[in-house]
């Protein structure tokens, strides 16, 4: 009797499959080791840290303004959201607020960044599943956003748009015209994308029910952003804890029901539509006024003042040489970036440099659940799950 039982229990060896660190689906630098039983994933182990650049340590050696370029390189698909998140944190530490015009400009920047991020995520997710066309169609519109960004701040990707107490440049009429133009053209592009993917049988089969994650689990793992919303909770910091005057805009927070890859895709697509709605409201109501706070202890004075008056020159020099003096204390400031809650925890000892700066990246906790999520799925599903989580290595490892 026992002998027969033994025979049934015989198993083949598990196969180990290595994905990464340089692998087309890992978009960046992750290392995933999958243990396979046939085609089914029995266990998975993830290694991260291949893009750990020591941003937090570098931040301790930089003044508050000089950290802004580093925030560009955190989530590089939507740099501008990180800029806004960081400057909001420093403004909270200093106890100031940017002028109303700057706030609206930041909202515009944030929403454009969110659209750009979702375009990458949705497009790449589709490419991984095998739908290359959708990527090429939708990526054209990302190029339009880049054009707007390069007019807004002079760079396509690494924007560094915001400053402490405002934004670096004003919007000119041409940029506003470009944004309007984008807003008229983009909704039809989303329709196009949906026509290609949403009811596509292959896409549906490859994503429905894959990577289902219950709400309790999601909360346990600290999910935020689209992935949490796809699991069925209406949780958006823009609604729950409005910053930058988000309470003045009308928009809805889309949610999913099952928390699988398909739901995440739907949530992202719907969020792009809502972002367009916010942008339409924001672009019509840009108030007049300065775009940066007029306190020369915090923001650089106008160039004319620097060249023509002694006060301007002195305050410019002091600001460039020393930086902003922050009060001692600790703050935590969170914003809703494209991926979820992006938080900055700043410990200040009263100097011009942060004593400790901590970035709370949205995808770090999300990715820690990957091992649990892929269990029992096929290898090909691991790819689509990874794409839907939108893991950006720069932000994951910092």
């Amino acid at each position: 009797m026992t002998d027969i039982k033994k025979e049934i229990d015989i198993k083949t060896d598990r196969m180990i499959v290595n994905m990464g660190p340089s692998h087309p689906v890992t978009h960046g630098t992750l290392h995933i080791v999958l243990e396979l039983e046939g085609e089914t994933i029995e266990a998975s182990h993830t290694n991260i840290g291949y893009l750990h650049r020591g941003v937090e340590k570098l931040g301790e050696y930089r003044t508050y303004q000089k950290f802004i370029p580093f925030t560009d390189r955190l989530n590089y698909t939507s740099s501008i959201n990180n800029n806004v998140g960081y400057t909001l944190a420093v403004e909270k530490l200093l106890g100031i607020q940017s002028p109303p015009r700057a706030q609206v400009l930041e909202v515009i920047a944030c929403e454009l960044g969110r659209i750009a991020d979702h375009i990458v995520c949705v497009g790449i997710n589709a490419v991984d599943i095998g739908a290359f066309t959708a990527f090429l169609y939708i990526f054209k519109y990302r190029e339009l956003i880049y054009d707007i960004f390069s007019r807004m701040c002079g760079a396509r990707l690494t924007t560094s748009y915001t400053r402490i107490g405002g934004v670096s440049r004003d919007l000119d009429d041409e940029t506003i015209r470009m944004i309007r133009d984008f807003l008229t053209r983009f909704p039809s592009a989303i329709d196009e994308l949906e026509a290609l993917l949403t009811k596509n049988r292959i896409f549906y089969d490859r994503t429905r029910g894959i990577g289902e994650f219950s709400l309790e689990n999601a909360i346990q793992y600290g999910y935020t952003g689209p992935c949490l919303r796809a699991a069925g909770l209406e949780w958006d910091l823009r609604k729950k804890m409005p910053y930058l005057g988000y309470e003045n805009y009308e928009f809805e927070v889309p949610t999913g029901t099952r928390g699988d890859v398909y739901d995440r895709y739907l949530v992202r697509v719907e969020e792009m539509r809502q972002s367009v709605r916010i942008l339409e409201q924001a672009i019509e109501n840009i108030p007049e006024g300065p775009v940066i706070i007029q306190d020369h202890k915090i923001a650089l004075p106008q160039k004319e003042d620097v060249y023509n008056t002694i006060e301007g020159l002195v305050s410019h020099m002091k600001l460039v040489m020393e930086g902003v003096q922050a009060p001692a204390g600790e703050i935590y400031c969170a914003t809703e970036a494209a991926n979820g809650e992006l938080g900055f925890y700043i410990v200040s000892d009263g100097g011009t440099k942060p004593y400790r700066i901590r970035v709370r990246p949205p995808c770090f906790p999300i990715f820690s659940s990957f091992d649990e999520q892929v269990q029992g799925h096929m290898v090909a599903d691991a790819v689509s799950i990874l794409g839907s989580l939108n893991i950006i290595a720069g932000e994951l490892d910092r």
Binding site: L93, I219, G222, E341, R356, R360, S368
Partner: protein
């Protein structure tokens, strides 16, 4: 928020202290490091269902060299509570909370990697960002920015 603080003082008595934050945050200092798991469980069951962030700060000149920061979030209504846990000594050890919050698993590995704070009963306490057998803990204050990266020097 008052409720939660009341609850905490009821359970932990003298070992919690409330500190007002600079800009309206609530900081809670827990002086008894052996009871952190208990405190986390209590908070989790009373609405603070999410551990948003877990990190540490190094103060080399203080008696309590490290301060762990547990950043909690209550969803309904939205409340944020930051629990601080000062730790003594060069190589402190503290109870892991990864059985209370699953997300703490990776956060604790990161804190171990960057600061060298060890966590008891952690399922897999290994380095996460730097490679295995790397020497030193980069985010400690005495660690130089360039570390042992010789390429930085020339």
């Amino acid at each position: 928020m008052k409720q939660t603080i009341g609850l905490l003082t009821k359970y932990f008595g003298d070992s919690v202290a409330v500190e007002p934050g600079l800009r309206g945050e609530t900081f809670i200092k827990l002086k008894d490091e052996s009871r952190i798991r208990e405190a986390m469980e209590l908070l989790r069951d009373n609405g603070f269902s999410m551990l948003i962030d877990l990190t540490a700060v190094h103060y080399p000149k203080r008696e309590h060299e490290f301060e762990l920061i547990y950043n909690m979030l209550a969803m309904e209504p939205l409340l944020r509570l930051i629990v601080k846990l000062p730790l003594k000594g060069e190589k402190p050890e503290v109870e892991s909370v990864s059985s209370v919050f699953k997300t703490a698993n990776w956060y604790e590995r990161e804190v171990y990697d960057m600061f060298g704070v060890r966590f008891k009963n952690h399922p897999n306490l290994k380095r996460i960002l730097m490679w295995e057998n790397y020497e030193g803990h980069p985010l400690r204050k005495e660690f130089p920015l360039e570390g042992d990266n010789l390429h930085c020097y020339d």
